[in-house]
Point group: C2
């Protein structure tokens, strides 16, 4: 019977449930007598190069369950993208510890890292089985119905807009909130699930799948504000004009990029400021407020979908099962089954790696300022139970008596 | 037996539990046969002038309970401050509807509105009983142990920093988050309750009760970053230098003020941007991220302290009891009793109105970058049950074997 030593790590931006997947791997591995070691690398592939490994086999089940319920990457993360030399360093460490399987929990960039490692391992004749475990709040992995991490972030966005809508109804004006999502609008689109009553916001939703025109935007805002006396707007941080230029971009300023070439968008309020300034100056509306949800939407501790928790756990478990029973490499993908269940399959790494899924046209309204019912039907079951339910006074007006 | 017609309204910024107080008034009033009408004014005192009233007596109990559990002001709010002419308009409408009692749920500015109305009513010989019901996420009403609305907002801030700390530990760097609080640091101070393990952030907390010096701030950040390789910082939006100049203020730009003379601070990311830019340029730290919690901290739907819910309900109930049985006017105040219960008293309006409570010196650390244990002991019981509990991997490191 072969003896395996497996290594698991986490890459890219954290999510509320990424540790469910880590714990899924660790606990599932305990069920296989053929797995003699379960190591974790701290801070993703960077931790392999630094030989910063820990022995997850020595964790208690109780503590692993506590970690599973904790947001953000318990092993730490990285945005490093390995090149050939980086891979050689990785293999040196993996060989020294006789690692036979590598599990990487991450989004598109991390899936690309897994693909690179797999190809390089084959190239140097190292028998390493590489498995990508999906997670991303952006929900932009191809071949997946959705990705673990997205439902909880979507729930945060929906709950935030449900509150922001009530706040704006109470003190009317224009409210703009900027939501994460570089290329795909799934997270911004989740704001639509905040609505309950007619007239509820968000009244306008701008997604990066459609070109953003400032003139059109201002006309949209004016129309809603004229009609309702207020306007709540959800905007993706990645909105850009028809030529692809980011609305958030600040000409002349140095742009920060990570190793994968992604422009740093979050952690800056530039887009909200730009849009609010335009509404104030061009529409003459006085009360205009802008928020940028920033890191709260991916790391707030206490807003999670139990569907997401369960699925994030399962992709970790399935990864180990696929590797041990199927003997293959690949990326664990999540398929929807009926209304509502899920199935998991192992897809070839090359079919996932570095590719970006965008919102389907059927999810975006014709006027490009809203989502469709099809999108709401798609997202609703993912948000889980116990979504807050707004009440509204129905008290009839009192007849005027003061003679004004 | 006298017959009363009462009017209730909500003023200032909404909170997560302000409708508990509204419903407390409405349901308590149903227990008094002497109260023949319970009206609500839409959008605070503005709704009285506009004679925009509704009949809360026609609400079902079920719907009122649903509204109570909904954040933000169900009746709508205003920041109007009545002058003499405004009061005359108010009295004209109140008299037309034979209103004998006015209940206003709000913070310092609203308490000042109640005081003005009460004085003006006496001046014109109108027998109107005026009651102020406290709410403010700023927690800055004098004579109160704390104010309804604060515990839930504090809980949001603590949960946000608990997540932000984990996010920052996963992808190290400097993280700055700006928290609401113009003059009082209570809400920013709540970030301290996010900590569980040694080394957890926030590592630095800046309150408006202490002068903010940029040079000192940068030295603080450098010291933490040198020691931990990361730094999580909580900053009040109201921080200012020794001369009282706001750090967030943008010289040369028009400043927006409300009728009470308050400068508009929220809905702008200026302070976070300023601090992040200084850290990047002067300390040379690469990964620096800034968030401004903005309206989420007061309106997020689904983060509430059940202690806060209960107390917000009680101040509404007590207001009616004080007015009906005590026959007095005043502001309902909340006193702490033991560990942990509360009592309510009716204080004179002039003792509360327009006054601002700041954090006691005993709540602020000597180096002015943290809170004390006394503050944590003060806040802990207010946050309620079910605060999230972070887990952390305890897996031992694997001995190095790669010979690097």
């Amino acid at each position: 019977m072969s003896s395996d030593r497996i290594l698991v790590a986490q890459g890219g931006g954290p999510t509320a449930v990424i540790n469910q997947s880590l714990v899924g791997v660790a606990l599932q591995a305990r069920r296989f007598p053929g797995i003699e070691r379960v190591y974790g690398a701290r801070h993703g592939v960077r931790g392999i190069v630094d030989e910063d490994l820990c022995d997850l086999g020595q964790e208690t089940t109780h503590n692993l369950e506590l970690v599973a319920a904790t947001p953000s990457s318990a092993l730490g993360s990285t945005r490093d993208k390995p090149d050939e030399a980086y891979c050689r360093e990785i293999f040196k460490v993996l060989k020294a510890h006789a690692i036979t399987q590598f599990y990487y929990i991450g989004g598109n960039d991390s899936s690309d890292t897994v693909r690179i490692l797999s190809e390089q391992a084959r190239g140097v004749g190292y028998a390493l089985r590489c498995i990508h475990i999906p997670k991303t709040i952006d929900n932009d992995l191809v071949l997946n119905d959705h990705t673990p991490g997205y439902p909880s972030a979507a729930r945060f966005v929906a709950q935030a807009f449900a509150g922001a809508n009530l706040d704006n109804a109470s003190l009317p004006g224009v409210y703009v909130a900027v939501v994460m999502g570089r290329h795909a609008g799934f997270l911004t689109a989740a704001s639509a699930l905040a609505r309950k009553f007619p007239g509820d916001g968000p009244h306008l939703i701008y997604l990066p799948e459609r070109a953003f025109e400032m003139v059109r935007f201002l006309a949209d805002v004016k129309a809603v504000h004229d009609r309702l006396g207020r306007c709540v707007i959800a905007v993706s941080e990645g909105v850009h004009d028809a030529a692809g230029k980011l609305i958030a971009s600040d000409d002349g300023k140095a742009v920060e990029r990570d190793a994968h070439g992604n422009v740093q968008l979050s952690g800056s309020g530039a887009l909200a400021e730009t849009l609010c300034a335009a509404i104030r100056s061009r529409l003459g509306i006085k009360r205009v407020r802008g928020d940028t949800f920033g890191y709260l939407q991916r790391s707030f501790f206490g807003c999670v979908s139990e569907i997401d928790q369960r699925e994030a756990r399962e992709v970790g478990e399935k990864a180990v099962q696929f590797a041990m029973w199927g003997g293959g490499e690949g990326s664990v993908t999540l398929r929807r089954s009926g209304a509502y269940g899920v199935d998991y399959e192992l897809a070839p790494l090359a079919a996932i790696a570095g590719k970006t899924r965008l919102m389907d046209d059927s999810f975006i309204s014709a006027d490009a300022t809203d989502v469709t019912d099809a999108f709401s039907a798609y997202l609703r079951p993912l948000l889980g139970a116990g979504m807050p339910d707004a009440g509204r006074l129905r008290a009839p007006s009192v007849a005027k008596a003061a003679g004004n």
